[in-house]
């Protein structure tokens, strides 16, 4: 059975592994310079070229797309193609049970996908590691590896995604019995999962931490005004730049979430004032005074966040979650193949 799986699968496998090798070449050519730059002590972000930044985001997109593509092109047709061409009637009548047939086929394909995505992620993670979360001295930054932009494209999680995508594709192919619709639905469902998990699932994989901060200019991230000129919201940074901030709310003395006091609007360079031709140094004392007044009136900032040192625990938790979902879908595959397919 291993031989047949390999025979049916080798062209696709070769294609994918060649693509991974091509990515590895790009990584090896462009990567060492970034690692040297990071070691040199200069501000890395300010020394990045446009193409470095483009490559950074290309890496993110590549690792995000790879499991989806593999799921659609390997997983969905895995059984559906046999059903479409009627070849299941040939292969199910050799001296191999359906269960063993599916176990070998699905198992080897999933392994192949997991290994390919694992290698790809490893290369991209190494390439990106100096760049993740770098800050400019003046303005600008790259997303940290705990942020939703990068988290599922680093470390171990993409392997879990790849396993899930292949099993999802195979399951849909078995249920729908047609490759093309199964491929389309695999892509749609997987894209939904990629959006839904960081929004609703990942923040709760480990109970997030909460911190209540006093206002200070050092911690201030931004103050924004509403269009009417009043103050809208104020956001602070946690002590560690790499933390993944989930909510950033101002609370009153009683600890309840509240709107900002109206007087704070006077601290804003709002539309009432002419465009600030004066340098910001003139406004700095104003802001410090405003923040002190906020503190004195009992306002605090409550931040719910995942600390930066939870990167690996969260990686393991999310990978585990996807492996469990894959296991459940895999069980459905076997059950459906034994009981419902004929």
């Amino acid at each position: 059975m291993t031989w047949l799986t390999w025979r049916q699968f080798r062209t696709q496998a070769a294609t994918l592994y060649l693509a991974v090798a091509a990515v590895a070449v790009v990584v090896l050519v462009t990567g060492p310079r970034l690692h040297d730059l990071a070691k040199s002590g200069a501000n890395l972000f300010d020394n990045l070229t446009k193409s470095d930044q483009a490559l950074f985001f290309a890496g993110v997109i590549l690792v995000a797309a790879a499991p989806a593509i593999i799921g659609a092109f390997w997983g969905a047709p895995l059984v559906a193609r046999e059903l479409e061409h009627g070849t299941h009637r040939l292969v199910w009548n050799q001296s191999v049970t359906r269960t063993r047939w599916l176990a070998t086929k699905l198992g080897l394909t999933t392994l192949g996908a997991a290994a390919a995505v694992g290698l790809l992620t490893w290369a991209v993670t190494w390439w990106s590691s100096p760049l993740d979360g770098t800050l400019s001295q003046s303005r600008g930054n790259l997303p940290g590896r705990l942020t939703p932009v990068s988290f599922a494209m680093r470390g171990l999680v993409p392997v879990g995604y790849a396993v899930f995508a292949v099993v999802l594709g195979a399951t849909l192919g078995i249920i729908l019995r047609r490759s093309l619709p199964a491929m389309a639905i695999t892509l749609a469902v997987f894209a939904f999962v990629q959006v839904a998990v960081p929004l609703w699932v990942r923040p709760h994989l480990i109970a997030p931490a909460t911190v209540t901060l006093t206002f200070s200019e050092k911690a201030l991230d931004s103050i924004s005004g509403s269009p009417s000129g009043g103050p809208d919201r104020i956001e602070l940074n946690t002590a560690n730049h790499g933390d993944w901030i989930l909510t950033n709310r101002t609370v009153n003395a009683a600890g309840q979430a509240t709107a900002l006091p109206a007087w704070l609007g006077d601290c804003l360079p709002g539309p009432r004032q002419p465009a600030p031709s004066t340098p910001t140094t003139q406004q700095a004392p104003d802001i410090t005074a405003c923040l002190d007044r906020l503190n004195a009136e009992g306002y605090r900032q409550r931040i719910v966040y995942q600390p930066v040192d939870r990167f690996w625990p969260l990686q393991f938790a999310e990978t585990g979650l996807f492996l469990v979902m894959s296991g459940l879908l895999g069980g459905l595959c076997f059950w459906w193949t034994r009981k419902r397919l004929s």
Binding site: M1, R7, Q8, L90, S342
Partner: protein
Amino acid sequence: MTAVLEARGLGKRYRRRWALQDCTLEIPAGHVTGLVGPNGAGKTTLLSLAVGLLAPTAGTIEVCGGVPAGGAEQLAKVGFVAQDTPTYANLSIEDHLRLGAHLNPRWDRSIAQTRIERLGLDPTQRAGKLSGGQRAQLALTLGLAKRPELLILDEPVASLDPLARREFLQVLMEAVAEHDVSVLLSSHVVSDLERVCDHLVVLVDSEVRVEGEVESLLATHHRLTGPRRETDSLPADQHLVSASHTDRQSTLVVRTEAPILDPAWTVTRLGLEDLVLAYMEVPSADTRRNGDARKPALEVLR
């Protein structure tokens, strides 16, 4: 005599429609059994049940003493050439043989290779490039080299031209003689079966109408022609199969072990095709009134 296939009250329902109903059947070992019936009679359903591609809705079926597709050992006992003889289009003939060798413990390499050689096929050719006849031969080779106890073929020649049809059946017969395997094959063309079968099952409207050895079937069925008369006046030992009447004449097909003594009848023997056709006619009031309103339930090819 041992049975290679034993069905009791076997039925298969798709949603509301019964594709096969209350089928009780015993097919003895060592025969080439033809399963004949019009399109949609349930032949494919019965064969799919026999190889375990389908699970029965009602009743039981045992093939070679086991539940169809009940395990690897059971699968090894039964060979199957599915309808339209599916093969992997982008795998070569050689790959197919290797597939068979990898997936079947009893695989006989020499059978496979001799047969491909004898057919004059190029082993490196992809199955997708083969003609329908060659593809059927490849599927048959896979089925035979597996060394099954029972080889089941579902309409193996339906899509072949008359020459390829004849060749295929000839090869099948040679192989059966050579390898001592029981065969169950279905067709809606009686003339195909006439050439190769010594046992027959007629399936109409998802029910088994008649089954038995071809010779004894032919010996016990008679066509009676004579002056018009009502069919209920037949002797008790004559089982009426079909009847047609014109204004003055009656033509009956009856099954009986005993000789026919009534001098009013002209008795003729039936060919296999006529015999099968007689069973396919539903003996309804309609067909009794209009003797010539025979619907061509069966395709007749020579």
